[in-house]
């Protein structure tokens, strides 16, 4: 993902107001980052078992989430992530608390 596209994605997610919008941005971001088929990135998809993310991918995801939200993702919150739905919930919660 080039810088301009990345900044646009970050700006879009920062302005997202619904879970659907956040999921849409997560889908497009993760599809490019991890070379995944967008259709496989559903709310129920498990990060490790279904999408085959390893710990290094998970750090990349955490860094990306931090860029998107503009705040550090809590270590304990990161440990609890299991599915894409959890990622969306976390971003939604953090965006809500920032507003």
């Amino acid at each position: 993902m080039n810088d301009a596209t990345e900044h646009e994605a970050i700006a879009r997610i920062a302005g997202a107001t619904s879970r659907e919008q956040i999921l849409h941005e997560i889908k497009s971001t993760m599809a490019i980052m991890f070379e995944l088929e967008p259709d496989t990135i559903t709310l129920e998809a498990r990060l490790v078992d279904d999408l085959d993310l390893d710990s290094i991918d998970a750090i990349d995801l955490a860094v990306k989430m931090q860029d998107m939200i503009g705040a550090r993702v809590d270590e304990n919150a990161l440990r609890k992530l299991r599915t894409i739905g959890d990622v969306v919930d976390l971003i939604e919660g953090m965006l809500r608390s920032r507003r």
Binding site: L47, V48, L53, D54, S55, I56, D57, A58, I59, L61, A62, R72, V73, E75, N76, L78, R79, K80, L81, R82
Partner: protein, 272 residues
């Protein structure tokens, strides 16, 4: 004579670990909570708790030395830098971590989740800012690396045993990538320490009452710093290169390498 001698040694080893756990419980439930009242700032509190722990670990190793159970020495090598670094080491004995934390200042260690959840020692570890290494799952590992980066940004160094568990007798488990990824991401050097213990003692899977009759000699050999950025390697390649250096040293010590010459009490350059 042998049976009474062994019984006395088992008793002495048991006493060392009894005092270790007693000290841990007292610190975790009395001293550190009291220090938390004095040190309101979390970073100052962590540093103060680490200083207390360092003295405790020195006492523990001093006790084992006096009783001729285990003698710990740092051999050669340069001092670590004043700025944060990622320390790595092979994992020979149960007391490698206490030996390293008794030697070096301001170090937070990656610790197994089961230890962090232990009601006695876990509390102690959290006060001193040590890091839950995760239960082997990807998200736990990512969270641990994130916590490691945070500690480094706060001015602490981080200790990781890249094998993830204690080494098998005479060998080494494959290195995991986390320590190297952390160093690359945090932009800090790697400080490798090669550990030996002769005769082998306090190894994984060996109960404490089945230890050597001789005084175990635990040696810490600090190697040259590895500047992860200057090496221009990915964390994956760095992992392989550093693991190869450790294996070469192990082979050299075991007399298995073709060019087995002088054995390792020297700083080593990456890949040399």
């Amino acid at each position: 004579m042998r049976a009474p001698y062994r019984a006395i040694r088992v008793f002495l080893i048991a006493s060392a670990f009894f005092f270790f756990w007693l000290g841990a419980v007292l610190q975790a439930w009395t001293l550190f909570p009291a220090m938390a009242l004095v040190y309101r700032d979390e970073l100052r509190r962590r540093r103060a708790c680490q200083r207390v722990l360092k003295h405790g670990f020195r006492l523990f190793h001093g006790y084992m030395r006096v009783l001729r159970l285990l003698e710990t020495k740092v051999v050669g090598g340069a001092d670590p830098p004043d700025a944060p670094f990622v320390m790595i080491a092979n994992h020979q004995t149960l007391v490698d971590v206490t030996a390293l934390l008794a030697t070096y200042d301001g170090v937070c260690c990656f610790v197994k989740t089961e230890h962090m959840n232990n009601p006695f020692i876990g509390r102690l570890l959290r006060y001193a800012g040590h890091i839950d290494a995760g239960g082997g799952d990807a998200l736990g590992g990512a969270a641990a690396i994130q916590a490691g980066i945070e500690r480094i940004e706060q001015g602490f160094s981080v200790l990781i045993f890249p094998e993830g568990t204690r080494s098998p007798r005479g060998g080494m488990h494959p290195f995991r990538r986390g320590a190297f990824e952390l160093a690359c991401r945090a932009g800090v050097p790697i400080f490798p320490v090669f550990i030996t213990c002769n005769p082998p003692a306090l190894m994984k899977g060996v109960p404490f009452w089945r230890q050597t009759d001789e005084t175990a000699q635990l040696r810490l050999y600090p190697w040259e710093l590895i500047d992860a950025r200057a090496e221009r390697l990915t964390s994956k390649d760095l992992t392989r290169a550093v693991e190869a250096s450790y294996r070469l040293e192990l082979d050299s010590r075991a007399g298995r390498a073709e060019n087995a010459g002088e054995c390792g009490a020297r700083p080593r350059r990456l890949g040399s």
